[in-house]
């Protein structure tokens, strides 16, 4: 008994007029004394805990009402008078909570569930892809009949409020994602989970890349190889992923901007798709080493591949077969190679100049063969006829973007296109609508950056084709071009953001002539 810790003295507030806990000699803990509902104080608030209790000392406090603080004014009030108060969200979900349960579970009221499914069906065709979460695996919603077991158990249910019915639509939207996309998501999730850096989505029959499919791959981390001891040297391998993405054998028509956010992507295969264009945003994939674009519908390549070859890591570029433009059929404004300004007679095939060992650098590097004519566009984005562009070109040549361009770039920078559905902009004037749709397309393809002045832009003002021979890169840098080898230039389309952003013919010549005359 002596070892027992003495209990603190009970508060003696009724004996003394002054509350003892304000005394200096008090050894009481600083925390408030316990409060019980049976304490005879007028209200159970802590503020008036020490208020002197008059008159009814010793009487138990009688409390009538609900546990969340409703006091009964009129003792004759019935329990059902509290009923409307129960819709206040207590934060506790109980099985008997009707308002939520009936929106999920089918009720016996056939018209309600029919209406609900109609709503779901109606909402389906215009389901925006953005609504889907990356990790949420679509769950199948089997439409249960009105007499489903759950519905029977629940008994009669009061009429639901209309907004309760519309609410769960959001949750069911992703149900209707196509099977191909579900499969692709499963593969990506699997790769993420296992830390596999080779993502094989080939032969997936996808017509487009669903949103939020590729984004998570940016954060893929390899898992360390767990092996039994003895631990050898090769266990210590880099955990940095060598990200490879295979989208071969799908039916992709265009590439989404999400693909170009995978800046650590090393290998990209888009073989056997239906691409007509590779967006210039490919430039953002700076660590790309190996690209396969064969068996598509490409007539030209983006100039940004040349940038990736020179400034990036690109070593292997497979582009044939594709319905690429041919240099002998194309209009050429300027020849850069071989060192002439007069058109090369096309009877004689283009050949690399003869060289003797050592192998010149030229035999490895891409060679600029020719440049096509420059097409100019007005501020509306319409091409300007050749004759007219020559007369007006001097007057308006300036690097300043047009006001349309400035507004479009700002729109693309903001989240306007994410927030505004197509129906909201449909009643704008036709010309504006065209610009807005164009801007949205550019945004969806990952944006554009002027190849001359590096400004972000939407409407190109100039456009031309450059012909480059990249045969060493098509071979994966296995060897230099042989002496006198036939050249097979590829068309690269280049865009400029203003009429000043045009190729500088002279400087290009100056850099290339000395190289060829050295040999």
């Amino acid at each position: 008994m002596e070892n027992e810790i003495p209990l603190p003295l009970p508060p003696r507030r009724r004996k003394s007029h002054r509350p003892s806990r304000f005394d200096d000699r008090s050894s009481q803990p600083s925390s408030d004394p316990a409060l019980f509902s049976s304490d005879d104080i007028p209200a159970s608030g802590l503020e008036n805990y020490h208020a002197p209790a008059h008159g009814n000392t010793g009487r138990k406090r009688r409390y009538r009402g609900t546990w969340w603080g409703e006091t009964v004014l009129d003792p004759k009030r019935k329990r059902k008078d509290f009923k409307d108060k129960r819709f206040v969200d207590s934060g506790v979900w109980m099985g008997s909570d009707e308002s939520f349960a009936e929106s999920l579970l089918p009720s016996e009221d056939a018209p309600i569930s029919e209406e609900f499914f109609k709503n779901v069906r109606n909402s389906n065709p215009r389901v925006p892809k953005k609504e889907q979460d990356e990790d949420a695996v679509p769950f199948a919603f089997a439409a249960p009949g009105p007499e489903s077991a759950l519905g029977m158990d629940r008994g009669p249910i009061s009429k639901p409020q209309p907004q309760v019915v519309t609410q769960p639509r959001v949750a069911f939207r992703r149900v209707f994602e196509s099977q191909e996309h579900q499969l692709a998501r499963a593969i990506v999730n699997d790769c993420l989970e296992k830390g596999q850096d080779s993502v094989d989505l080939s032969i997936g029959n996808m017509r487009e890349i669903p949103s939020n499919l590729l984004g998570p791959l940016q954060h893929l981390t390899k898992l360390p190889a767990v092996r039994e001891p003895p631990v050898t040297e090769d266990v210590y391998s880099s955990l940095e992923p060598f990200l490879r993405l295979f989208l071969a054998g799908n039916s992709l028509f265009k590439l989404s901007s999400e693909l170009f956010d995978l800046t650590s992507l090393k290998v990209l295969s888009l073989r056997n798709n239906k691409l007509t264009e590779v967006p210039p945003a490919i430039r953002r994939l700076t660590s790309l080493q190996d690209v396969n674009l064969s068996v598509n519908r490409l007539e030209y390549l983006p100039w940004e591949f040349l940038w990736l070859i020179r400034k990036g890591d690109l070593k292997h570029l497979i582009v044939r077969p594709n319905p690429l433009m041919q240099i002998d059929e194309a209009e050429i404004a300027h020849w850069h190679y071989p060192n002439t300004t007069t058109p090369v007679s096309l009877d004689k095939p283009l050949r690399l100049q003869e060289y003797e060992s050592p192998v010149p650098e030229e035999a490895w590097a891409p060679i600029h063969i020719a440049t096509g004519p420059i097409r100019r566009f007005n501020t509306d984005g319409y091409p300007i006829p050749e004759a007219q562009s020559n007369t007006t070109s001097n007057e308006f040549n300036s690097n300043v973007p047009s006001l349309r361009e400035v507004s479009l770039v700002s729109l693309n920078k903001s989240n306007f296109f994410d927030l505004t559905p197509d129906s909201d902009i449909a009643d704008l004037p036709e010309l504006m609508l065209r610009l807005l749709r164009y801007g949205r397309e550019v945004r969806a393809a990952g944006g554009r950056c002027c190849s001359i002045c590096h400004r972000n832009f939407v409407l190109p003002r100039t456009e031309w084709i450059e012909w480059w021979d990249c045969s060493t890169y098509e071979n994966g840098l296995k060897g230099p071009r042989a002496s006198g080898e036939k050249l097979r230039p590829l068309p690269f389309k280049r865009l400029g953001c203003s009429w000043e952003c045009v190729p500088e013919m002279k400087s290009v010549e100056v850099t290339y002539i000395p190289e060829s005359t050295l040999e």
């Binding site: 501020t379 300036s398 690097n399 006001l403 729109l411």
Partner: protein
């Protein structure tokens, strides 16, 4: 009329009555205003040097004038800085750009 062409400044008036006085060369960045102020056109704008742009509000016209100055200032430069536009004005400015042909 010869007097009007010599005026160095022109006045742009917005639909809600705001007036902006800008150099003539600056205002002529816009194709529409240039045509309005063309002395050979004999438009009243060309004579008085005052263009009333009913469809533009004062806020938008202010930004348009800012753009005119931005365009004029950077005309000769190779590296043009970006012009910031608040997102809520983008659509109206796009509409104005359509109207002003700039």
């Amino acid at each position: 009329m010869s007097e009007a062409t010599q005026q160095e400044y022109v006045t742009l008036v917005s639909g809600d009555g705001f007036e902006f006085v800008v150099p003539r060369s600056t205002a002529c960045v816009s194709g529409t205003i240039r045509r309005m102020l063309d002395p050979s056109s004999n438009f009243s704008e060309a004579i008085t040097g005052r263009c009333v742009l009913e469809t533009l509000s004062g806020v938008v016209l202010e930004k348009v004038c800012e753009y005119f100055c931005y365009n004029q200032k950077n005309k000769e430069q190779a590296n043009v800085p970006d012009m910031e536009i608040p997102p809520e004005l983008c659509l109206e400015l796009l509409m104005a750009a359509d109207y002003l042909d700039t």
